[in-house]
């Protein structure tokens, strides 16, 4: 059922279509580009100092390969994003985020639209992919320390019947708190683990890039509702 573009989404709408997803991906790419030096600075402190640059390369490839030639449905688009990241990021974030996007794509196979209620399942799939790939759990100073709290906050907000924008605001706040939490713990995964206790006091670059993506998702819905 096709609706005219101008009335596709009304204020408070909980749905997103493929065009919305493409706009979201574009905005995520812009945010990563703006924040690339910051992400690299964080990674310089405890890792190999390439996270910002690598993520920027990855989302440049998303822009060049996916946004200009998107697949026919949301699932295909997310899988294209996964492949673009896997083949261009270079560091651990490539297989990690790449697998996350591939798994989300699998869930939305053939779909033209997703709703707020799909989002916890999508985040679960992303988190599952990252856990499988990185063999990490919560509390090890990784992306998971932003993503798992975000997913939990989102589920709680949906159960409480909150509107989409508020639910996403809760998720973003939880991701931000998760990033703060990574400052207090020691890394046991990845290059940062070589630093042991000296990794304490630094926020995790991967958790930070995950937080940025959730913040952009929140902002995208806020702008749409204005």
């Amino acid at each position: 059922m096709l609706r005219p573009k101008h009335q596709q989404f009304v204020r408070g709408d909980k749905r997103m279509d493929k065009e919305g997803l493409l706009r979201l991906l574009e905005k995520i790419g812009q945010r990563i580009h703006e924040q690339r030096d910051f992400l690299t600075e964080l990674d310089n402190a405890i890792g190999d100092g390439d996270h910002g640059h690598n993520m920027d390369k990855g989302f440049q490839a998303v822009h060049d390969r996916v946004l200009s030639n998107p697949g026919p449905d949301m699932g295909k688009v997310l899988q294209q994003v996964g492949m673009a990241l896997i083949s261009t990021v270079g560091g651990a974030a490539g297989p990690l985020y790449g697998t996350a996007f591939m798994r989300m794509g699998g869930l939305l196979a053939g779909r033209q639209e997703a709703s707020l209620e799909d989002l916890p399942r999508l985040l679960d799939a992303a988190i599952g992919g990252i856990q499988q790939r990185g063999k990490a759990v919560r509390g090890e100073k990784t992306m998971l320390d932003a993503l798992i709290p975000a997913k939990e906050a989102l589920e709680a907000a949906i159960s409480a019947g909150k509107p989409a924008v508020e639910a996403l605001a809760d998720a973003a706040a939880a991701a931000e708190a998760g990033v703060e939490y990574t400052k207090t713990i020691r890394a046991t995964k990845g290059r940062a683990s070589y630093l042991g206790d000296r990794s304490i006091g630094h926020q995790d670059p991967g958790a930070t890039s995950s937080m940025l993506m959730i913040q952009v998702l929140k902002e995208t819905l806020q702008e749409r509702d204005q």
């Binding site: 083949s87 270079g90 297989p95 990845g190 290059r191």
Partner: protein
């Protein structure tokens, strides 16, 4: 004959090691995979898939990797390969240099996929001195 793929963040490291392994490995196909397509340090799972496709035979393929994210890239590559191929690809947990040389020798003398993998992993238990 079992083939070897050497995965490193650094193209030079992978290529240099491939030279070293070829010295002892005779006709064994040895493919270095390292760095990103645009020449940065890093790993690219799709390049690993291409390398497997280039040397694949039913005798099998052993992958040796350097640090953490090259392991993740190799595991991702296994998922991207058709299942009938990935079933004959093994990831070795051996140290890259010692493991690759040991695997190269075992493959050259006609070792099976399992024995090449075992030879590589025996390098884990061989102290340098």
């Amino acid at each position: 004959m079992v083939s070897l793929i050497l995965v490193s963040h650094s193209r030079q490291l992978a290529e240099g090691l491939a030279d070293l392994v070829r010295q002892v490995a005779g006709e064994v196909p040895v493919v270095p995979v390292g760095g990103t397509a645009d020449g940065r340090l890093g790993t690219d799972a799709t390049a690993i898939v291409e390398a497997v496709e280039a040397v694949y035979s039913d005798d099998g393929v052993v992958l040796l990797m350097d640090l953490g994210s090259s392991v993740m890239a190799a595991e991702t590559a296994l998922e991207l390969l058709p299942p009938e191929r990935s079933a004959r690809v093994r990831l070795s947990g051996a140290p890259l240099v010692e493991g690759a040389v040991a695997a190269g020798v075992e493959a050259r003398i006609g070792g099976t996929l399992e024995s090449v993998l075992k030879a590589a992993e025996s390098a884990l238990h061989e102290p340098k001195f």
